[in-house]
């Protein structure tokens, strides 16, 4: 095949823009779609259109949702006195998969990243401060990555939230499950020692 038909070429180019998709994968996906038949392609098109029209950000927590406020914010069984602050919608998913957290979330949509010029104003921090000012919230859990940008963001939030008289906590850092103590680095051991708990 010397040249792709123009329409397939356009499809390949669009698919390539997706994360984790290189030129070869894009081509394979495009061929697969084209030969999969009209019906299956229609379903994909409908799904894309629906996502485009219905999915947006929750006006309360900032998570991805197809209703506003989102199902979690609307759930009366969830504890509205605790808010877990995360950077991205995918982090909410991680917590929900684990299933243990019964409070609400707040998605910042990023970290403070000075190297990329992203400052606190670009994050949903004002929205968070507004949410806690209602007085219903008693505890904020900062669930950011332990790298420098994540910690900067956590420290920034802690400084902003503490004066409001809230309990501000952060996720414990320590040994990962399934890990060998022998192989853990010193910093991890140090931090998990600091955050040790009495056995009950």
């Amino acid at each position: 095949m010397s040249r792709l038909p123009e329409s397939i070429h356009r499809l390949v180019e669009e698919l390539r823009k997706l994360p984790g998709v290189g030129p070869k994968t894009a081509q394979r996906l495009a061929f697969h779609l084209v030969v999969s038949g009209k019906e299956s392609m229609d379903r994909l098109i409908a799904a894309l259109a629906e996502a485009r029209d219905k999915v947006g950000y929750c006006s309360v927590c900032g998570n991805l949702t197809d209703q506003d406020p989102c199902a979690i914010c609307e759930d009366p069984k969830r504890d509205s006195s605790v808010i877990c602050v995360v950077a991205y919608p995918k982090d909410v998913l991680a917590f929900e998969r684990a299933g243990a957290f019964r409070g609400l979330y707040h998605v910042l949509h990023g970290y403070i990243e000075p190297l990329k010029g992203i400052g606190p104003e670009e994050l949903r921090i004002q929205e968070l401060l507004k949410r806690v000012s209602s007085g219903e919230v008693k505890e904020i859990i900062l669930a950011t990555n332990p790298d420098v940008d994540g910690e900067t963001t956590a420290l920034y939030l802690a400084r902003a939230l503490k004066p409001l008289g809230l309990k501000v906590t952060r996720l414990a850092r320590g040994l990962p499950f399934g890990a060998d103590l022998d192989y853990a680095d010193e910093m991890t051991i140090l931090k998990s020692l600091e955050a040790r708990r009495e056995m009950d």
Binding site: I112, P114, L115, G119, D147, V148, D149, T152
Partner: protein, 374 residues
């Protein structure tokens, strides 16, 4: 301890090399670009998985090959261990590192094969800015203590961000609060880096003074010049953190004006002195060379202290820079159990009593019996 066998496959200009090595001094001579340095580079790579010249592993691969391998047998006190490193550079970089066929981490290699690389550029450590001396100390501590390398890299991450924020504050003061958050991380990581350096300085002072005296016949002073004004040796973490914070506070105005962080381990220096005068500014050419050599020999002693083995000394084209007396001094180290591998452009007569000489030519290495026979 010594390397008794070296194996290279598609490493630099060596398609396939198997080389038997003796304890003591080995000299590799040959023309420029024949592959002498590549041999020393391979030995250092087997000790550290880093190259003294190349930025990336790709550059170590023979032109046209997609993978390379290096291996060696290290004999120590009657027992021996085999290091093997296999690296595929295409389609993606993949490294397999084993000791006696058991996969190991990079930091395990130096325990089997501690090595110190000497090059004519070592002189820059004495002559040039503080950055080259910090690099010396950071590289040494990073090899002795992998945790140090992690802390340093965290500090450098925080530092890059902080400098960026300092520049932004000038046009947008709202960044000020981000700066305060970054300060916390900078101080935490920076204090740990400083504390570890100060602990090491005690050993380094003693070793440099001794090795300088060994080469030049008199002691040399070494001190740590801290940008936050902490004491020379020891110093507890809390004390360092507090001084670091105070220093940041005191220089805040100037930092915002200039857009850079003015205190912290990235501004510290190691100062070498002879008779109270700084070698960098007042030392003669010869004294500066001796000081550079003393630092590298001190590195060997520090590695020996950490791993309990005498490091292999890799002398890349440095003998030509030394006078007769210092050359003899350095080579005499083989009597103390160091294996010494040397490169030079020509065979050297009367180098040392038991030198094994090799002629290097276009990616092949042959034992050389010449010299006296001709």
């Amino acid at each position: 301890m010594n390397i008794s066998f070296l194996l290279l496959k598609d490493f630099r200009n060596y398609r396939h090399l198997e080389l038997r090595l003796e304890p003591g001094v080995s000299l590799f001579f040959g023309r420029n670009a024949s592959g002498k340095t590549n041999l020393l580079e391979a030995c250092y790579y087997l000790s550290s998985l880093t190259s003294v010249r190349a930025e990336r592993d790709h550059d170590l691969c023979r032109w046209g090959a997609k993978a390379f391998a290096a291996g060696c047998r290290v004999d120590d006190d009657g027992s021996s261990k085999t290091i093997k490193v296999q690296v595929a550079v295409e389609p993606a970089l993949r490294r397999k590192v084993t000791v006696d066929d058991v996969p190991v981490r990079r930091s395990e290699l130096i325990r089997v094969l501690p090595a110190v690389y000497f090059s004519p550029d070592d002189l820059y450590m004495i002559k040039r800015s503080s950055a080259s001396r910090r690099k010396f100390l950071d590289s040494l501590l990073g090899r002795i203590d992998p945790e140090y390398a992690r802390r340093l890299s965290r500090y450098q991450d925080a530092l890059a961000r902080r400098n960026n924020v300092l520049k932004k504050i000038r046009s947008d003061p709202s960044w000020r609060r981000t700066l305060e958050s970054l300060d916390g991380i900078l101080v935490e990581a920076g204090s740990m880096v400083t504390a570890r350096r100060l602990t090491a300085m005690g050993d380094l002072q003693r070793e440099v003074s001794e090795t300088y005296a060994f080469i030049a016949g008199r002691p040399c002073g070494v001190s740590y010049a801290s940008s936050i004004g902490v004491g020379e040796v020891g110093g507890d973490l809390e004390d360092i953190s507090r001084k670091f914070e105070e220093s940041l506070q005191a220089k805040r105005e100037e930092e915002t004006a200039r857009g850079i962080t003015l205190s912290g381990p990235h501004r510290d220096d190691i100062v070498l002195t002879l008779g109270g005068k700084e070698v960098r500014y007042f030392g003669s050419q010869g004294e500066q060379r001796s000081a550079a050599l003393a630092l590298k020999l001190a590195e060997a002693k520090m590695l020996e202290g950490a791993f309990g083995r005498k490091p292999v000394l890799l002398l890349d084209d440095v003998l030509s820079e030394l006078d007769e007396y210092r050359r003899k001094k350095v080579l005499s180290l083989c009597d103390y159990g160091h294996q010494i591998l040397i490169t030079a452009t020509d065979p050297i007569e009367d180098l040392a009593p038991d030198v094994t000489e090799f002629r290097v030519q276009d990616g092949s290495v042959e034992p050389y019996e010449g010299g006296g026979m001709a």
